[in-house]
């Protein structure tokens, strides 16, 4: 720990131009919609927790990260994996259970890993990701770099004690951790009011003398700005930050459908959030700035549509892992 190096240069994850980030959001949206559409084919035989409606958080946070920074996510990891630069074909192959999947088909959609781009782990047990990110941050510091680790999680995850254990540890050691709370108001089909007392979620940070930022999670620029401050604190050795972003999941908790009819939330609530669609808001800003027009939008959709179709083709046609490989890699 004698010196601090800027690990892997300052390379950002992807193209951080306004159009580049819009493209990244739209890409996630199109991929998720394609999954939803094709799920009924019964070939993606694993749970899927779609990120539709939550794209701005994933893209906004990862825009401020380097490729070498680490991300640890949850069951709802598609957007984080893609925003961090994870390989799309490997993701789709994973969901289809194929050998070319990012985990060789062993993990399914809740285990999207791509450590080449710093997508360290996604973990299906709620809140299990958090201390892992703290440990990654510890390792980055031990290595003498100024890397940071970010962990995404939902408003349900903060009810697990390990959230506080992780915050205490990170705050105590002033580790470069971003605790990214995606508040989509629900844990499965239970609203916040049935699970937590009423207070600003950022107050959670007060218990641990931790910095906090709260921003509109459907506003890409607001997410970026809050994240940029948190990353700067982390790289400067000033410790972790709790980032609170309000957003909304459009589809059912797990699976491809809409479920506003089953009684845990209202159609009106959903429509309100849909009206503030993060992808559309970003597009509108670009249009207002003269950076996007119909032709460009159409071209973008065509290009992304082709990429998505190709990824699905790849995944569907890819071979399954060999049955006799099932015992491999329990131990080294």
């Amino acid at each position: 720990m004698t010196r601090t190096t800027t690990s892997g240069g300052a390379a950002t994850v992807g193209d951080n131009s306004p159009l580049g980030l819009y493209r990244s959001m739209l890409r996630i949206r199109l991929i998720e919609e394609a999954i939803a559409e094709r799920y009924a084919e019964q070939e993606m035989r694993c749970p899927v927790h779609l990120s539709i409606g939550q794209e701005a958080v994933a893209v906004g946070v990862c825009a401020e990260l380097r490729r070498t920074d680490k991300v640890v996510s949850t069951h709802r990891c598609h957007a984080h994996y893609l925003a961090k630069g994870g390989d799309l074909k490997a993701m789709m192959a994973e969901i289809y259970g194929k050998a070319a999947g990012c985990c060789g088909g062993r993990g399914g959609s809740m285990h999207l890993f791509d450590d080449d781009v710093g997508m360290l782990l996604s973990l299906p047990i709620v809140a299990s990701c958090m201390p892992i990110a703290v440990g990654a941050a510890l390792a980055l510091r031990q290595e003498g770099t100024d890397g940071v680790a970010a962990t995404f999680f939902g408003d349900g995850s903060i009810e697990e004690g390990v959230f506080h254990e992780s915050m205490n540890f990170a705050a105590l050691h002033r580790l470069p951790v971003l605790f990214v709370l995606e508040n989509n108001l629900y844990s499965c089909y239970t609203g916040l009011a049935d699970r937590q007392p009423d207070r600003p979620l950022a107050d959670l940070a007060k218990a641990h003398a931790m910095a906090a930022e709260t921003a509109d999670g459907n506003d890409l620029e607001a997410v970026r700005a809050a994240t940029a401050r948190a990353v700067a604190r982390g790289r400067a050795g000033e410790g972790p930050t709790l980032l609170v972003f309000d957003t909304y999941r459009w589809r059912e908790h797990c699976g491809p459908n809409y479920d506003n009819d089953i009684g845990y939330r209202t159609e009106a609530e959903f429509q309100g959030w849909k009206a503030g669609c993060p992808v559309e808001r970003t597009a509108a800003a670009l249009r207002a700035a003269g950076l996007l027009d119909e032709a460009l939008e159409a071209a973008l959709r065509r290009e992304l549509g082709a990429e998505v179709a190709e990824a699905f083709d790849f995944a569907r046609n890819a071979p399954f892992p060999a049955a006799d490989s099932v015992k491999d890699h329990v131990y080294g």
């Binding site: 694993c46 194929k98 060789g104 062993r106 973990l123 299906p124 349900g156 499965c188």
Partner: protein
């Protein structure tokens, strides 16, 4: 059976809970999702409407904490029923279960009791993967002070859950998700099925097959096929591995000389290990052939179905093991076995029921 209805295990568990709540105002339900529209795979459906939010308590995601809360309430004489949608989530609650639920009666020299029930569901299929499909029966069977029950049929599941809720000790109930779909005749009204050990579900003199939970259903299918080949299996449901009372199994092996144990969880260090060990200690001389255990292999559950072809024991692998144990020539079993194989191949291997369209 005029006073029975056909229903599946999930519905039977729901009915048991409803009856207990109606009868005893101290009974209440806690868990993530107990009060949501999915109602824990339907097993708590309608209870919220009937008993209200104070008795059907939705939980924050805090398994260790709310398990402690349940124990505290139980110590004061309340009768909490906790439900976890997956066994895996209960790993977070082991400190409370292993130390406080299991030991307080003992440590208090009998003054305290912890009338707690914890229902935990084993996931399987549709690519749920390594952390949503663990079957940790042996882990819970290991802890003195806990009771452990693994229901299989709808009639028994209902009576076992009622018995568990009536019980003054902490009872862990591990339900296999695929067992939820098993249908059977269920009597009306309130009755208990005692939590007092294994029970014989089929009588035979050629080979002893011990199984529990979903593997019991596979074993019974296997036993039917074996019977067609003239092999009569003595099938025993190890429904209550704790308190551990192997006597029925030992006695059966004394007659058959052959023992096949099938674990829903891992083969190594599973319930079968203790059963085989107990039989070897108590009836070694009766064993005409080495006992055989089936169970999950020694690695986590991969998500992709491509890697699951040999992961779970099936009626077919049970037939093969039992036939070999019983010295049945391959030719004799081949026909019925093939017929069953064709039958089984009609349903994809990663779904519990023809109506199932994913995801869990």
């Amino acid at each position: 059976m005029a006073d029975t209805r056909l229903m599946n295990v999930a519905a039977a568990l729901r009915e048991a809970t409803d009856l207990c709540m109606a009868r005893d105002p101290r009974v209440f339900v806690m868990g993530e999702g107990v009060a949501d529209p999915k109602a824990i795979f339907g097993t708590t459906a309608g209870l919220l409407e009937r008993y209200g939010r104070d008795r059907v308590m939705e939980m924050p995601i805090a398994e260790n904490g709310f398990t402690g809360v349940a124990i505290g309430a139980a110590l004061l004489g309340r009768r909490p029923l906790i439900i976890h949608q997956r066994v895996d989530f209960a790993l977070l609650a082991l400190e409370q279960l292993v130390n406080n639920a299991a030991k307080t009666r003992y440590v208090s020299n009998g003054r305290h009791r912890v009338p707690l029930v914890v229902r935990m569901i084993v996931g399987r299929g549709w690519g749920q993967g390594p952390a949503h499909s663990q079957s940790l029966d042996a882990l819970f069977a290991m802890i003195p002070g806990l009771k452990l029950v693994l229901p299989t049929t709808a009639r028994e599941a209902k009576g076992q859950l009622i018995a568990a809720i009536e019980d003054d000790d902490p009872v862990m109930m591990i339900e296999h998700r695929w067992v939820h779909y098993a249908t059977g005749h269920v009597p009306e009204g309130y009755y208990t099925v005692p939590l007092d050990g294994p029970r014989r579900v089929r009588e035979g003199g050629d080979v002893t097959i011990v199984a529990t939970s979903y593997m019991l259903l596979e074993a019974l299918r296997a036993a039917d096929t074996l019977a067609q080949a003239g092999v009569q299996a003595d099938v025993i449901d190890m429904a209550v591995p704790r308190p551990f009372r192997p006597q029925l199994v030992v006695d059966s092996v004394r007659r058959t000389g052959r023992l096949l144990c099938i674990d829903t969880g891992f083969r190594l260090f599973g319930i079968g290990a203790e059963l085989v060990a107990s039989v070897a200690e108590q009836a070694l001389g009766s064993l005409a052939k080495p006992p055989v255990r089936l169970g999950l292999p020694d690695h986590p559950t991969p998500s992709t179905r491509a890697l699951l072809t040999d992961f779970y024991p099936t009626a077919l692998s049970i037939i093969d093991a039992a036939a070999e144990l019983a010295d049945v020539p391959v030719e004799r079993i081949a026909g019925p076995r093939e017929a069953l194989a064709v039958e089984l191949s009609k349903l994809p291997m990663d779904v519990p029921h023809p109506t199932f369209r994913g995801p869990f």
